[in-house]
């Protein structure tokens, strides 16, 4: 019963996103979050001068994840997300949000079968994609290493 004409009508007439404003918000919020990360990086480098760079970077991610999870907990991150869209999804704080929000949501079904089981309903794909790409890239590097 599919009606091509009707689908075209709907696509032509449905309201489009308020384009420019969402982009501006995404840019501003995303930029600010990255600057906060940069700030933590500089502070940690100053306080912990003998740490190597990659360790500092990991610490910065952990701090940002803490912030993202905390802001999710106090109910700020969803409001930020409604305004900023991509600006709050793409930074690592958005990853923290996507772990903490289902954990909070499904806490009502119990800690084990609710919160723990459903913590990764949103973030699961990211972990799977990360793990698979880690194995694939490891294999690539290993095979390339054989020929060198």
């Amino acid at each position: 019963m599919e009606d091509k004409q009707y689908i075209e009508y709907v696509h032509a007439n449905a309201q489009k996103s308020a384009h420019v404003m969402t982009l501006v918000w995404a840019f501003l919020v995303g930029g600010v979050i990255c600057c906060i990360g940069q700030g933590f990086g500089d502070i940690f480098a100053l306080v912990l001068p003998d740490w190597e760079k990659s360790k500092i970077a990991a610490l910065v991610s952990m701090t940002m994840i803490f912030l993202g999870a905390f802001l999710t907990g106090v109910g700020v991150y969803d409001k930020l997300g409604a305004k900023a869209g991509g600006g709050s999804i793409v930074p690592i704080t958005g990853f923290a949000n996507s772990v903490a929000s289902p954990a909070m949501e499904f806490n009502k079904e119990g800690i084990v079968l609710g919160m723990m089981a459903k913590m990764f309903v949103v973030a699961g794909p990211i972990i799977v994609a990360g793990t698979v790409s880690s194995v694939v890239s490891g294999l690539i590097y290993w095979i390339v290493g054989l020929f060198n």
């Binding site: 982009l23 995404a26 990991a58 803490f66 958005g94 903490a100 954990a103 949103v122 790409s133």
Partner: protein
């Protein structure tokens, strides 16, 4: 002055990355999980082809704070492991994910115990 310039660059590139995500959201109606996976894979790809470190040198946190940075650390770990042996090549990538994952799971758990989710306001 150099430090200040670093922040401007981080702001600009970080903002730009997020803006590209927003364009994708507006155009394709992708949900946040898809966006995160896509950008993670972009980070993996950029690191694999060796471009990531140039962007990182320029933009600093502007590219490492977005989830692309997570992708790049994974590949960095795999690369490091591959120098040692096959086992390390397969597992060191995940080792580099450990910091982020541990933080996300632990803080997610703690805050879910403390806070409750609330409805959004119209």
């Amino acid at each position: 002055m150099d430090i200040f310039l670093g922040y401007v660059k981080a702001f600009a590139i970080g903002g730009l990355v997020c803006m590209i995500a927003q364009i994708l959201i507006n155009k394709t109606k992708m949900t946040s999980a898809r966006i995160l996976v896509l950008f993670l894979l972009v980070g993996v790809f950029l690191e694999l082809v060796g471009v990531f470190k140039y962007i990182e040198n320029f933009a600093g946190a502007g590219i490492t704070i977005p989830i692309t940075g997570f992708g790049s650390t994974i590949v960095k770990g795999a690369k490091e492991g591959a120098k040692i042996g096959l086992f390390e090549a397969l597992t060191y990538g995940f080792r580099n994910m450990a910091a982020g994952l541990t933080a996300a799971i632990f803080f997610g758990f703690i805050f879910a115990l403390i806070f409750k989710s609330h409805s959004k306001k119209v």
